[in-house]
């Protein structure tokens, strides 16, 4: 079985700063991969490389059986990947509903009434329906994070990429978010999720990858990986043999 998403020795550097170094990994269809790593480890850059916002210096990216290394962000999105941005990027002058409609009509391939009804359903799921007519620029941080998720879902992706979507949420909000993501995963959507809120991540993912300095440190079963010496060292600064 070939992987749904495959990165093959992908490297990217800005001058002396390396954001990805020989990064290789695979995600199988229907899998949920969690990604952790310290700040500045290159997690968001990895997303930018996968979605096409950044072009790699070398390496190859395969998605759904096709080489997409040279494709732009828009083409990759239409091929079935959608992301949320860590720093929310709303269409500020448009309403929440219009933000959702763009994703549904452009990336999701829906039209007319069908698109409208689908957006309403997603907004209900992400608890933004009562703010549907609010200008996106007027949302709170939580609202903007929810809007990021809404847009990604309205794009009807085969691969959903979430970038620190749980950061800054209260415990109750986090629980409901985890449930939403679980539901989406249960429908067969492949997920890659970057998150610092580890307990939220562990509730969903079936594989965990750790990256630092743009390199893959380790990957495997979520709980085993969390307890591995490499992770302990990165997060707690304890030498492995201490």
């Amino acid at each position: 079985m070939t992987a749904f998403l495959q990165l093959d020795q992908v490297s990217k550097a800005f001058g002396a700063i390396t954001v990805a170094e020989d990064l290789s990994f695979e995600v199988q269809s229907g899998q949920a991969l969690g990604v952790i790593g310290p700040n500045g480890a290159g997690k968001t850059s990895m997303f930018n490389l996968i979605t096409g916002t950044l072009a790699p210096n070398s390496g190859r990216i395969m998605f759904d059986g096709t080489d997409i290394t040279r494709d732009g962000a828009a083409k990759r999105c239409r091929a079935g990947m959608a992301r949320s941005f860590q720093v929310p990027q709303p269409f500020s002058g448009m309403t929440v509903f219009e933000n959702a409609m763009i994703a549904a009509t452009q990336a999701g391939g829906l039209h007319g009434k069908e698109a409208e009804q689908f957006c309403i359903e997603v907004l209900d799921q992400t608890a933004l329906l009562d703010r549907a007519n609010t200008l996106a620029g007027g949302l709170t941080l939580l609202g903007r994070k929810r809007l990021e998720l809404t847009r990604a879902l309205c794009a009807r992706p085969k691969l959903l990429m979430l970038d620190e979507i749980a950061g800054g949420l209260t415990e109750a909000e986090c629980t409901s978010l985890v449930q939403t993501i679980k539901d989406i995963h249960a429908r067969g959507v492949t997920i890659i999720w970057i998150e610092h809120v580890v307990h939220a991540l562990l509730a969903v993912v079936d594989k965990l990858m750790v990256i630092d300095f743009g390199r893959k440190i380790t990957e495997g079963d979520p709980h085993t990986t969390m307890e591995s010496p490499e992770v302990q060292e990165i997060y707690l600064g304890i030498a492995a043999d201490a």
Binding site: T53, A74, F97, E98, I102, T105, H111, Q117, I120, L123
Partner: protein, 342 residues
């Protein structure tokens, strides 16, 4: 409250009233030859042409983010095409206007491929340079009068209508039609799926690209269509002026600076903005024109004050305060029970 209780509507009572009023005003304006004097009709004709130019510049700069200061390239190009096609091609002036639009689109393709490599301020400067290249090129064409320009032969003018009144009415209606067609085209485009994508590009290019919108292609289409329509309006402008010269045809002041003024004070990135801006611009011009240079200084002061106090223009101010729009572009999600009470 389940999702099925909600529905989406695009029109409101305000947009319905605006549509009825708009239609009434249009009928009154079409009948202008029966109630307006010759000078008034000439002024209104000019106003409509500026309204069309401003709406096009607004679509390009306000929505697609293509801040061009070189649209005079297409106004002048269209004007010269009219003269060349009627004088040497024997084409009827009305037909020449349409063909000028086609050629405008054609020449805009290589121009776009060149200047789309530039970003932000460099793009703006690039468009101006291109317009200067157009001006200098047409000044070299001696059959069109070179640097001193030429006049439209009487025979061609007569082919529009044998009487002077007939010509004046026709050119008034053509100007009115151009404004109506441009505003309608902009409206229907923005209301479509592609228009929604263009509005998204206006707000956030990074997110737009990540949601599957082909930014380059969308901007390219907007630039080419704008160039075609601007060329047609240029042809119409010089059909009314009856005389063309490189300096008048490619004037950055007349065809770009005033147009930017109109869009900025009216409200950039809205359909209503250019309409309000055009009315204000002509009101100022008609009251201050006798003051000479002071008139231009007043325009500058008005522009600066509005940019400081209302960066989104007069319509932007009204829209944020009252949450209204005259053209039904936005989507409103309503609860079905409350909607029934409307």
């Amino acid at each position: 409250m389940t999702p099925s209780d909600f529905h989406v509507t695009r029109s409101s009572s305000v947009t319905k009233i605006a549509a009825v009023l708009g239609l009434l005003i249009l009928i009154i304006l079409i009948a202008a030859p029966y109630w307006a004097g010759r000078a008034d009709m000439r002024l209104m004709g000019e106003l409509f042409l500026y309204l069309a130019l401003a709406s096009l510049w607004n679509l390009m700069a306000g929505y697609a983010g293509l801040v061009s200061v070189g649209q005079q390239a297409y106004v002048g190009f269209g004007g010269y095409m009219l003269f060349a096609l009627t004088m040497f091609g024997g084409v009827h002036p009305i037909g020449a206007i349409v063909i000028a639009g086609f050629f405008g689109a054609l020449i805009a393709v290589p121009v776009a491929l060149l200047i789309f490599r530039l970003r932000g301020a460099y793009f703006a400067i690039g468009t101006w340079v291109i317009a200067e290249v157009f001006r200098l090129s047409f000044a070299q064409v001696s059959v069109l009068g070179g640097g001193s320009g030429s006049s439209l032969p009487v025979g061609i003018v007569r082919s529009l209508s044998s009487s002077r009144a007939g010509r004046e009415h026709l050119s008034y209606w053509l100007a009115l039609a151009s404004a109506v067609i441009v505003i309608a085209a902009v409206y229907f485009f923005l209301r479509s799926r592609n228009g929604l994508a263009l509005t998204a590009i206006r707000d956030n290019e990074l997110a737009a690209g990540s949601l599957g919108i082909d930014i380059w292609r969308t901007k390219f289409v907007v630039y080419i269509v704008t160039a075609a329509l601007t060329s047609m309006i240029g042809a119409l402008i010089f059909l009314q002026k009856l005389r063309i010269s490189p300096d008048a045809a490619f004037s950055v002041n007349d065809w770009t600076a005033f147009v930017i003024f109109i869009v900025v004070i009216g409200g950039i990135g809205t359909i209503e903005g250019p309409i309000i801006g055009t009315l204000i611009f002509f009101a100022l011009r008609e009251t201050l024109a006798d003051l000479g240079t002071i008139y231009l200084m007043v325009l500058g002061v008005v522009a600066i004050v509005i940019m400081l106090k209302a960066p989104k223009g007069i319509w932007g101010l009204i829209r944020t305060r009252f949450d209204v729009e005259l053209f039904p572009l936005s989507y409103r999600v309503k609860h079905s029970q409350t909607a029934q009470k409307d």
